[in-house]
Amino acid sequence: MADRDGSRAPREPAPIADHGLIGGTRTAVLVTGDGTIDWCCLPGFDGTPVFGALLGGPGAGRFRMGPLDPAAPVARRYRENTATLETTWATGGGRLVLAEAMVAEVAGRLLPATVLVRRLSAEDAPVTAVVDFDPRWGEHHRRPRTRRGPGLVCDFGRLALSLGSDPPLEITPARPATITVEPGRPVTVVLAAAYGEPLIHVVPSTAWDLVSADEARWQEWAGAVHRDLPFRPAVVRSLLTLRLLTYSPSGAPVAAPTTSLPEDPGGVRNWDYRYTWPRDASIGVATFLGTGRPAEAERFLGWLLHASRLDRPRLPALLTLMGCRVPTERTLDGWPGYAASHPVRVGNAAAGQHQLDGYGWVLDAAWAYVRAGHRLNSETWRAMRGFTDQVARQWQDPDAGIWEIRGDAAHHVHSKLMGWLALDRALRIGEGHRLGEAQRRRWLTAREELAAEVRDRGFDPVRHSYTRTYGSDDLDAALLLLPGLGFEADGSSRARGTVDAVRAELSAGGPLLYRYPPGRDGLPGGEGAFLPCSFWLVEALARTGRRGEALELFEELLGLATPLGLYGEELDPATGAHLGNFPQALTHSALVQAALALRDTAPGTPGRPQRTG
């Protein structure tokens, strides 16, 4: 085994869709098809990048294990119903297999909070491989001080990394090590991280046992997902992805593990999604309740309750994973961005926006929980009453809407509908919980006034469709959520008309939809088709009596997933490239919700529950 100097020249970034997600439910890494980890933040999802080449270029750190000469994998998959990623290359007469995972269960044992395990095995013949470990810390790509302990120790001060291997390898940061992997003698490399605490070295064989134990737990976890779900493998992969994107210490679902992957390559639409939107948590409640994982639903509800405590009755648009205020948005100077898409942003200015729809999602989640046979405890119900009062007071105000438009606030019809939903669901919950008569009447009045205003000012009788904002000519794909809310009867001509109009006018070709007419958001450049909207269309079609069409569309959409079954936020209609932060929790939740709608509307299914979440 010998070291050699590797070329550090910039290279074309791997397509977003080429990335796999490995996670331990506290943070996650993205790994490309050539075995390069080019994104990892520590100590949590919203921490500081230690491998940041995805956005910061080669000098921002990466960790590659794979064949010496980069080659496209011949096979790549998650081991069935687990979070272990397996990549296989054919090279030099043999096959090289990289199996990798982060250890999820470390509590109660002397283990570091972050453990990444990567194992290279050869089949048929010895294979020459490379281990290129180059961690850099933070905005300025700080290099570590190194020393030798049981393995390599990289010291950044508050953060320390330990890299051990079996058999022992001489690994030096930024100097790729060439190794020969013999059949039957796998090479296991373990990366452990300590943040503000002593390093704990993990023996590679122990680490591999931990991965195996995790695999068994994930399989058991997936086994509890309802058996009657259509397209169950895709749904389970989405649920696993959602769980990997849930921060276990607080129960917060992170919208995506990345920042600033562009919606418009080369453009400025690059946002930081490493936070939690109450909307996503709410959708998650219904998603996990509907699929047989109530514990996850309860944790999301618990997070919502805890995180919103400081701002109640106002509901912030987004919060940190611990429920604190999101840092002020700023740009990382000197970071070139993915495919020259800059600025690279950290923090998110949308946190200060008023988004009326958020209340609707949260109250709908609470209603889903109650409808599933649970009872809200007094604090939860008090919080929900506070949110509902806020809607009753504020529904007349313009807002930024679900798409977080950064210009002037407007009267978004989707937001008003969600405001109506908040009032409606609160009234329904109030039927089984303590509710004062005066408060009930106040909500009832607000609900009726809101409905009347939306029907009057938010509907275009010429196109027979609800519109994006009051009096606007534009449509909004978020209106696809209308069927099933209960605002209009599912089969009503207004609901069907809106679905048809959105489908016709916002089509991006095939099953794809733009979320609103491209370019109508005050930002330069364009964007791709917004994937959650396509899954909402599946749901809308299913709930308006067109299940056959919905089924076809859903199958088409499944074909657009990455080879690992993951989805970003958007898709380029021309090239099919995934765009935006990756993988995206909202898209995966929408996929599961669409599958639930297909299940609920299947012939012979008793009743047709309204949409929740």
């Binding site: 509590a107 210490p249 607080s250 129960g251 514990a295 309860e298 400081l310 429920g323 604190c324 007094s378």
Partner: protein, 158 residues
């Protein structure tokens, strides 16, 4: 030692501390809810936990007041500022030692190592309780200073 004063004013000072914390919670300054944190040691039901935790908190406050009374007796003086200084120390210990160590013993509090199997529902407070809002150290410090000042003012140094 001032046993009668301890019995009465310990209760009073703990109640004042609790009131400050509740007021701060209602004002959106912190999410730290001591009765809930203590009560969930024995029950997962938040409503019952708050009631039980309230009594546990009163008991704990009474226990700490014993330390204050003993210190005043040892020093032979008790003034509001001496009590406030002790309160500051008490608050610092609570924020830097007791709260961060809680996830290790609390059955319903997650830690930063929590994984998918964790059924803990309370978030870990973190150092200085900052996970419960960035103003938590200030609020908790102020409440403990008030607790100490009241005891220093009301307890006799004997």
């Amino acid at each position: 030692m001032d046993w009668a004063g301890w019995a009465l004013f310990g209760l009073l000072a703990t109640s004042a501390l609790t009131l400050v914390m509740i007021a701060a919670q209602m004002a959106g300054l912190t999410r730290l809810d001591l009765p809930l944190v203590l009560g969930t040691l024995v029950t997962p039901d938040p409503d019952r936990a708050r009631a039980i935790g309230g009594f546990l908190h009163l008991g704990a406050g009474q226990g700490f007041a014993l330390g204050y009374a003993g210190t005043f007796a040892l020093l032979g003086q008790s003034t509001w500022w001496l009590g406030a200084l002790l309160g500051l120390l008490h608050g610092a210990v609570a924020l830097t030692l007791i709260l961060p160590l809680l996830p290790g013993v609390h059955p319903r509090m997650a830690s930063h190592r929590a994984g998918p199997a964790s059924r803990a529902v309370l978030e870990p407070p973190g150092l200085l309780g900052l996970n419960y809002g960035f103003q938590t150290p200030a609020v908790a410090g102020l409440a403990h200073v008030l607790y100490g000042a009241l005891l220093g003012l009301l307890l006799e140094p004997r």
